[in-house]
Amino acid sequence: MVSGVVTGTDQALVGVSVQVKGTKAGTTTDAVGHFSIQVANPANAVLIFSYLDYDAQEVSVLGRNTLNVTLKEISKELQPIVVVGYGTQRKVNLTGSVTTLDTKDLLTRPITQTSQALQGKMSGVTVTQNFGLPGSDGGTIRVRGIGTLGNASPLVLIDGVEGAINDINPNDIENLSVLKDAASASIYGSRAANGVILITTKRGRKSSEPMSVTYNGMVAWQSPTDLPKTVDGATWLVIKNESERNTGRPNLYTQAFIDNYRNNVGTEPNFNTDWFDLVVKKSAPEQLHNLTIRGGSEKMSALVSLSALDQKALIDRSDFRRLSLRFNTNFQATTRLAFSMDGFLSKEDANRPNLNGGISELFRMVTELPNFYPGVWADGTLGEGWNGANPHAVINKGGRQKSVFSRVQLNLRGTYSVFDWLKFEVAYAPKFLSTVADASILAYPYKRIDGSMGTYPAGNNSLASSNNNTTENFYQGLVRFNKSFKKHTTSVLLGAEYLTNRNDNFSATRQNFLFPNYLVLSSGDANFQTNGGGASEWALASYFGRVNYSFDNKYLLEANLRYDGSSRFAPNKRWGMFPSFSAGWRISEEPFFKGIKQVSSLKFRGSWGQLGNQDIGNYPYLGVVSINQPYFFGGNVAQGAAQTTLPNADVTWETTTILNGGVDFGLFNNKITGSFDMYIKNTKDILYKRDIPAIIGLDPSEQNIAEVKNTGWDLQISWRDNSKNFRYGIDAVLSDVQNKVINLNGKPQYGLNVIFEGAEYQAFYGYEAIGIFRSTDDLAKYPRLNTNVKVGDLIYKDQNGDGKIDETNDKKIIGSNVPRYNYGATFNFGFKGWDLSVFFQGVGKKDLYYAARQAAYGGTYYTYQLNRFIFDDPSTVQSSTWPRIAAGTSNDENNSFFLYNAAFLRCKNLTVSYTLSPSLLKRIKLSSLRFYASGTNLFTQDKLAINTIDPEAPSSVNSSNYYPNTKTVSFGLDLRF
């Protein structure tokens, strides 16, 4: 009889297989890692200890009765662990399509919102960032194209609880993986159709490791990327006159006036205000500090992480601050009973100028205001801007918008291991979110060009306060079963979940604050008070299960099933079933493969499964009467009631079916690793508010009508090597997806972005501009949209050749709204303590519709319009590249002239870091110390014809009303005691 204890790196191992070599006799270790086994020939016997994720070990008994063994963990570099639904898996055993984020460089880039970290780093994951406002600068994430016509954002689970990607402090992330195919995601059933992002957070350490205190901090400076360049004041006057003449009006400014302006520009009141210069700062600082304490004992371990972000905006008096605290604790009550208690508390303060239309409107003003208008007078008085709306004045003297978003999120979990192979788990995770917001409107005085004074906005000052609270309760129960018999390994998971969500909100306003320094509701005038409020709730119940089976670590099988019920559907349409199956073959483990030395590992995977989507309004199946439709009789409020939406009792789940095939490979002793996946993702019964005839008189509600297909591939490849002191590596991702609306039940949607059967979702739709009418001959030669089209206007192609241009027959799909060929590549070089990382990111094919010329209705003109057609300037007749400038003409129709190639390559990040050598550290009594400098969005290569806008700018028909992306330079250090 031989007995003993098997331990791993820091604890006893449960369920280690112990086998007498050459016999069938075997046992497993118990809950404290103890084993005992009968051995026939103690002197010569050899015991084999094998355990998942550990190197198997052979130990000769040599006649001993007690044998304590320590197993060595398989290096994580070689055997990465991947977070999958409700657990983890070794990457080699994965049969689904999962991509993981290298979390190492999360802290050296100035990432203020976690979504930014994913851009260009994960194959099949497209992140678009086109709004740089602190607090709102997260990216839009799309996993494998757009599979729904509604909200296409992936489900995000943080330690198993639904959250938002930007809810998490990047510093707390231990693992982040994206489940891309149905096999890996279908365990999340009805919410997984757009992909699933799983995040696990860092936890405390076992007693075997020393307690650690880590500080990570950085300071950074943001500066704006491109915004459109406006023309100077004199040019504006000239073009404005031109525009007036082109719309049948006389000159607005006399030549004498323009000459006078031109000769005296710069001396008041001949302003030439560069609004961009006046309003947008050259640089704005941000700082980020993280403090992490990790430690623990046999019975308890804990992590406490504190993080503070202070990010100033590119405009004055505007910032975003976030303070967050996470504590993750583990308690080992008995050997079989364990608890964990995690908490996440955060508070986000955003502080901005308040104006109708938000910060976008402010930037619209910056890019639309003519330079001719005064910004600030020499004596410091504010200029008039646009009828008093002066962005500089709004920022510095106008009303404020303040919001405080608070969150308390708990995750309580208990685990009971009945046997080594059977575990019960229960969890309760409540979440409380609250937003308290104040928006005030305060008037400021300004001086006009003529010297007279005015105030803006006219009317009473006012304050609107609102409060929005969400409570979410999440309950979970899991049963886990894991067992290996010889070459068979099985695991089974069963679970149930229940989620309820309730939102309550109210808002109130008052006007006429006699004491504007005391901006709280009750100091306003009660004669001008209004208020409102609302509440809504929804619930989701789920049952699910998973079976994994592998034989000899070569043949891998997995099946998932989820059964979800949502309160959003009528009782008979409520429940949906989402199955998936997948299989893998590690061909490199086959004996016949052993001879191929170059290939260190090779695995083929295949999967099929279904996912659902329920993300629509809360009560789309119910016909309800809104009792908030008042009318006003004789100065009295009369309550009014009316149905406003057409309900659809038949509304039910969207179903996405994904067929995925992939291969994982490692070459040259795993120096080169990678994976390639191809998939077909088909979504049916897409919930979509189709255009219903307005004649019905109600707003449409969702119907299960559409079908969209995404076909694509993802490639991820890494190369790592080192020689002596020199380390280098490349990580590259490239993916493509083609989108097609298969079926729309025959009801296309029209507009600039159309939804047509057989076309890409939201493709750009309009006339095809084939030139400019340069002569009256041209006018005769080409059909015109109407008789008011004149020389200098755009020529639209007569698609059906019927000799006239009409809406129905001559518009066509002119471009794509879905970026293709998303790629990213990170190059790492290391030499001794130095590390250099360069990260490029880009999009290979992308269209941008940018028709901000309509800004010229009342606003300025842009340098890209300078080479325009001028009716009375013959030199422009042939050479002009822009049509004549006139508001309201046929040039304003959606057409391909305003469609640009926005493919780009961007140096997303460059980081240089230096890590101090251990010998030096010992002297200064630190565990580790690293300094780094980093630049984000450093330079961009694109082919935009309008080269003054950012290629990631949102498509626009009106104006460039977006906060620009930012370029950031940062310096930081990483310090561990």
């Binding site: 009473n460 009467v625 006003f632």
Partner: protein, 608 residues
């Protein structure tokens, strides 16, 4: 161990048991299946229908019909974001916003009224019979109002009288305009009996009355040349004896004139709760307005002289001092600028918000010179003195390039109360008033060939009010005698008079476009139309510089292109803009493109 294994199913059952409750219902909205079953519910339902008494999609948040005049010969606008803008450019097409906005609005109103009318039987036993009947009639009249708008704008339209299913909506066809018209007549006729002639309670002011139903019938009959129906309906409404002319033409459109006896239908506003930005939109530059719309010289010229003659005929008209001896409604509707020669004030401008209205740009330049005389500017019209102060401030009506471009502003609906709150006006907008009814009576009678004294009386009642003795708080004598009475019974003459009377009495209230359409003048009046403004220097006009009125009462300015000045560079009239080519087919709007794309059974109107 066995015990634990036995616990396993129990554990799972426990988990599964807690998941039953997935019933979640709206916390703030009742179900439509049980609604419309009490008196309170049907009253609330009809209240909500009143939001569809007029479209309100244009920027100032006033009824959108008020924007229509801005795209005709009487008013012009520099507001290029208006849904009506493509209309005057001649670029209107089926994809334009305008038809869609009107169509969507009307059918949403029709759905609301249909839902109520179809379901309100559930409330009959639980309601006071009078209230029940009144609500039913209010809903039917509101629905008729939506149909009136629809047939006027689109001609033939689908006639929907019940809650429409999606399937039905995809195949419904247009009903002939004449059939919809008969439906409107029937609805209005059947509703009248149950509507009160007048509401006594303040909280009911603005509800539809018997008179409203009659007036709507008279109007739509007139619009469709159904002269006898128009005449008899108008007569019946007049005979109710409920309505009378309000004492002051000017005050009728201000806070002073709210809910007076001339008003038959209006759109009600309420401070803080529902406001509009009429002043910010149309107000003068000096008074927190942006002067987005401005009367044309055509409009100003159309007001007669006090002798009842048009200005081309009247000896009282002096082109160098054009605003004296004119129909008082000119000063009531149009904000008139100061007339002066640079030294002597001939007629002061309107004093509004403490500022005298002065818009002459001509006097900014030295005679014959194109150079701006900076020093003289501050002395002259570039400054304005606010009443009660001594120092002068810059006169933005002149210095701002975006001030009223014709040199006039609208005065109707301008109330100085709104100056400090330009975006928060709350005066009601009149959709139908007694004066219109009298003019309908007159025009219908005249067209029906039934000209008698009652016709002249109707016209003269409208004219008399204008000439009443006005004082600050209104007028004591609305039956003025010292005004130019209409006496002609010659049909051709009377037609001219009635049409001119509508043009001046109802100006800027949203009637001009409909009138031009039904008089067959749309294309003639608007296509390629040149909008003129005031003369910048009245002293440069000759006594013969008078407009000509063509056979249709449209104004022609023979001297508009004549110039004066040392180098003959100044036109005698300001030129504001030229309209695009407006085909006669614009008389009907296109059926919205989206509707046709969804329902191929809908035909398109000609010309689109």
């Amino acid at each position: 161990m066995n015990r634990i294994i036995k616990l396993l199913p129990l554990f799972l059952i426990l988990l599964f048991a807690c998941n039953k409750n997935l019933d979640r219902f709206p916390l703030d909205k009742p179900s439509n299946e049980t609604f419309y079953s009490t008196e309170d519910e049907i009253v609330a339902a009809v209240n909500a229908c009143y939001n569809y008494i007029a479209t309100r999609f244009e920027y100032p948040n006033a009824p959108s019909c008020f924007s229509e005049d801005m795209y005709t010969d009487i008013l012009s606008a520099r507001y290029s974001r208006s849904a009506f803008f493509p209309f005057k450019l001649g670029t209107l097409n089926a994809a334009s916003d305008l038809p869609k906005l009107i169509w969507t609005h009307c059918y949403a109103g029709i759905n609301r009224t249909n839902s109520l009318l179809e379901n309100m039987f559930k409330a009959e036993s639980k309601s006071t019979p009078a209230t029940f009947k009144r609500v039913r009639s209010e809903a039917r009249v509101l629905r008729a109002i939506c149909y009136i708008e629809l047939i006027q704008k689109f001609g033939d339209v689908p006639l929907v009288t019940k809650f429409l299913s999606t399937d039905e909506s995809l195949t419904i066809v247009r009903t002939k305009k004449s059939d919809v018209l008969q439906f409107i007549y029937k609805e209005l006729d059947e509703s009248m009996a149950d509507l009160p002639a007048k509401y006594t309670a303040t909280k009911d002011r603005g509800r539809l009355t018997k008179g409203a139903a009659l007036a709507m019938k008279a109007r739509i009959a007139l619009y469709n040349a159904d002269w006898v129906v128009a005449k008899t309906s108008a007569k019946a409404c007049i005979d109710l004896g409920v309505y009378k002319m309000y004492s002051s033409y000017r005050n009728l459109f201000t806070y002073l004139g709210q809910n007076n006896d001339e008003i038959i239908i209006d759109y009600q506003f309420m401070q803080t709760q529902r406001e509009n930005a009429w002043h910010a939109f149309n107000g003068t530059r000096n008074t927190n307005g942006t002067a987005m719309s401005f009367p044309s010289e055509d409009m100003v010229a159309s007001f007669e002289c006090t002798d009842g003659k048009t200005i081309d005929q009247s000896p009282l008209y002096d082109p160098t001092n054009p605003f004296v001896n004119r129909d008082p409604r000119l000063a009531g509707a149009v904000m008139l600028p100061r007339v002066w020669d640079g030294t002597t004030i001939k007629t002061p401008g309107v004093i509004f918000g403490g500022f005298e209205f002065m818009t002459s740009k001509e006097l900014l330049t030295a005679a014959g010179s194109t150079t701006v005389l900076a020093s003289s500017l501050s002395e002259r019209e570039k400054t304005v003195i606010k009443l009660g102060t001594t120092s002068s401030v810059a006169n933005q009506e002149v210095t701002n390039a975006f001030a009223a471009r014709t040199g006039y502003c609208t005065y109707k609906y301008m109330d100085s109360t709104n100056i400090p709150i330009p975006n928060n006006n709350y005066q009601n907008f009149i959709l139908c008033r007694y004066a219109e009814l009298l003019l309908i009576y007159a025009e219908a009678s005249m067209e029906a060939g039934q000209i008698d004294q009652s016709v002249l009386d109707a016209i003269n009642t409208v004219r008399a009010r204008a000439y009443g003795n006005t004082n600050a708080s209104g007028v004591t004598n609305i039956n003025a005698t010292n005004y130019p009475k209409v006496t002609s019974t010659d049909p051709t003459e009377l037609r001219k008079i009635v049409r001119r009377e509508r043009k001046v009495e109802l100006c800027f209230e949203g009637f001009r476009l409909e009138d031009l359409k039904r008089w067959g003048l749309l294309s003639k009046a608007l296509s390629g139309r040149i909008v003129y403004g005031r003369s910048d220097n009245y002293t440069k006009l000759a006594a013969t510089d008078k407009p000509v009125f063509d056979i249709d009462g449209l104004v022609i300015f023979p001297y508009a292109t004549q110039k004066y000045g040392l180098n003959n560079e100044q036109p005698k009239l300001r030129f504001y803009e030229t309209y695009g080519t407006i085909p006669a087919t614009f008389r009907l709007l296109p059926i919205p493109l989206g509707e046709i794309q969804l329902n191929s059974k809908l035909t398109q109107n000609p010309g689109y």
